[in-house]
Symmetry: C2
Subunit: 117 residues, 2 copies
Amino acid sequence: MSINELPLLEGARVPLASDPLTEIEAAALAHVFKALADPVRLRLFSLIASRAGGEASVLDLAAHFDVTQPTISHHLKVLRESGLIDSERRGTSIYSRVRPQALAQLAMLLMPGEAAS
Amino acid sequence: MSINELPLLEGARVPLASDPLTEIEAAALAHVFKALADPVRLRLFSLIASRAGGEASVLDLAAHFDVTQPTISHHLKVLRESGLIDSERRGTSIYSRVRPQALAQLAMLLMPGEAAS
DNA sequence: CCTGAATATTGACTGAAGTCAATAAGAAGA
DNA sequence: TCTTCTTATTGACTTCAGTCAATATTCAGG
């Protein structure tokens, strides 16, 4: 379930506070927030985003953490499946980059008065 | 741990994608996102926010869900302790309202290029 | 005070999620 | 193809989080 598939985001109309969320919408949104609700994933995300070039390999990223490489792979998968990052294989490494639309969509959802079509 | 105590939000300077989060910052932020990472809490939040008058009692809210009243109380507590809502007792009921600053702060964090002091 | 109404707390259960060690899979180079 | 480097998957363990039933707390009215 990726952020792209959120029905309320496709219409880009409903900030969180202007209309009650349906159960479906809430479940989809919760899934995205859950992806951001882990310290390691948040640091991964901001590490990737603030890299010169905007991308980083798994081992590059793993070097910044105390957890093992499989754990980093797991967290990247969660971010990827939520539509927050993209990954591209080049040679033997896999480079991840953030999807700028993702953050913008979330921000629009939170920000009252930003609901443009 | 409330959203007000986030060090990076007090300075209001760092969008998520411009600088790597420290472990401390990431832990604090994750705590806030975790509060939004549940379908019931998301619906509670948007229900309260979209109410005429901007507030609702626990029983009012509970009527919209399949879960029990203690569960609603629990979720409201989580939202309150994350700084996303405020609660005020009036008579025998307790009315919750959203804290508008909370959403705005989060949105600023996500939105690139919105970092004003 | 006693009763009734609204909300909170406690304790227990259950399923989800983060982590690791071990191993597999994919790609590049000799 | 064999080896090495990088990443992914599997299975097990453990902690955390959502939920409920039962009970406690707080307040208003009579």
